[in-house]
Symmetry: C2
Subunit: 321 residues, 2 copies
């Protein structure tokens, strides 16, 4: 998306909500006394791991695919994704009966790759660099005429992801803070739009792995800059903030909290125990941020989006006690 | 409950639904292509592990507590439970602001005992026999005037548990079969009432651990008889079918399928992977029964109640691959 392109607005989130309503799962709100006690705050969770294809990503992918004109749709869609967006786009394409190509870097999370394949995508492997992903993607576009649906730097995707926060605000009015993980910034920018339009008094806090903290630096310095070699177990959050995502978030005044991997893993375990939900480390960072900054959230009503749950149950990142 | 006492009816389930509506979580329906493919059938799951206190048990407990006259309520409630019913009753009592006594046998599941304590119950330990549980319970009743809320052989509890199936039928009309686990038979008898009143063409199948298969024998022979020493990992399903539960289920024509523990564990792992839900082995038996009897469910629309998710995440019953 060119840097002078118009940014998506709150109305686009409302349009997305209407467009994806026939397909999306309205995820419930969950809470637990034990988690409130641990945080010293009143927490409600929006478990998007229960969404189709196991992550909020289906919202944005579905919005993009459902909005395609018929002739474009017939040529299919393409994306590069190491995980949840690929599976989500494949599912959205399958529901519309069109082809979906997913460029997957070597070394991608096995549970996520399995899901992409299971959704019927045509998988193209490439080297694990952004340049290789983009080049392979451009090649598929040239070969097939498929429409690129970028995992996060796409106004249709941002608007679609905003529907998660829209639902959260509808089910839990009057939140003081909404906390979401940030990687490329699709969910985060969508949340900023939803909050601005629906609940401008609610603060937005972004949780980011300390080993891939480009959003923290970008929103402080006002300049996007990739982290050269992101190091974190949170495979869904290694991407650099997208350009439109950055512009939306910078204007929103959102704040970023960095989270250590060990804290993300502890939060993941706590959510499995207390909400009976398997979430990926990339999701658990949001609760981890709240627990690591208790003073900041004390006594407040906090909404947390648990972004996804595509984890290999045989490789949970903690051992038996 | 004496054997000539009137049995709860469908109207009692409707009354329960209205009574508990302000307190209960309307759990969502979940499904996954991978699970449909594994079963060769169309499966929808009602994840009651997302219910307050982590199991459907809150429905029956809440119905019993909310329906108590004020003077009785003030003296509190008492039950004997090794697990989910104890936590559920404690929560229901706490919401009404009355005391709750729970008689817990030695050797109870740690995750469940922790939950009972966390909900603020007064815990009384006893030897792990039915006689010891009942004697201790009677003593607490005599000492405090608390009302006994039996875990399953109680019409208020049966009616309350029936609301889980009522919600399932409302959200997924036209099911061919509903499958629920059976232990003492609260959920199962409630399901029979809900089906009879709302969807009499839907068959009821009960899943029971092979190591505690008293319901299988009782519904075949027409006579209740406890299994002398139940041996199964499904700690929530070791109880003998209650008397009113038996009468309702016998009249309903429900069928029982026995499930091996290894199959329950495999189904538990599959649900964690495909629905991102942690369920206890006692819940997973329902899916295990469907997978072990594919021919019986082939092509049919099957509703499955996943009863609870109170499991210690450090002691999942499978090792790393």
């Amino acid at each position: 998306m060119p840097s002078n392109a118009p940014l998506p607005q709150f109305d686009d989130v409302l349009d997305a909500a209407a467009r994806i309503a026939p397909h999306v799962c309205v995820t419930p709100l969950l809470r637990a006394d034990a988690l409130d006690a641990a945080a010293g705050a009143r927490l409600v969770f929006k478990p998007e791991g229960l969404q189709h294809a196991g992550a909020f990503k289906f919202r944005g992918a579905c919005n993009a695919v459902a909005g395609l004109p018929g002739a474009d749709a017939a040529r299919g869609v393409v994306t590069h994704s190491s995980g949840n967006h690929g599976a989500a786009l494949a599912l959205a394409a399958r529901l519309r009966g069109i082809p979906c190509h997913v460029v997957v870097p070597e070394g991608a999370n096995r549970a996520k790759l399995d899901l992409i394949v299971a959704q019927g995508a045509i998988v193209h492997r490439c080297a694990p660099t952004l340049a290789a992903r983009e080049a392979r993607c451009a090649q598929v576009q040239a070969d097939t005429g498929a429409t690129l649906v970028h995992p996060y730097a796409d106004p249709r995707v941002i608007a679609g992801q905003g529907t998660a926060t829209l639902e959260l605000l509808a089910a839990a009015p009057g939140l003081d803070v909404v906390v979401v993980p940030v990687g490329g910034g699709g969910l985060a920018a969508g949340a900023a739009l939803a909050l601005a339009g629906r609940s401008p008094g609610t603060a937005l806090v972004l949780a980011e792995p300390a080993g891939a903290a480009d959003a923290l630096h970008a929103l402080r310095s006002g300049r996007r800059e990739p982290v050269p070699a992101p190091g974190t177990i949170c495979d869904g959050l290694r991407a650099t903030l997208g350009e439109p995502n950055f512009r939306i978030l910078h204007a929103s005044g959102a704040q970023v909290l960095a989270v250590e991997d060990a804290d993300a893993i502890a939060a993941m375990r706590l959510l499995l125990e207390r909400l009976r939900l398997l979430v990926e480390p990339s999701s658990a960072v949001a609760l981890a941020a709240v627990l690591a900054h208790r003073e900041r959230f004390a006594g407040r009503r906090v909404g947390i989006v648990l972004t996804g749950g595509n984890v290999d149950p045989d490789a949970l990142p903690w051992g038996p006690r």
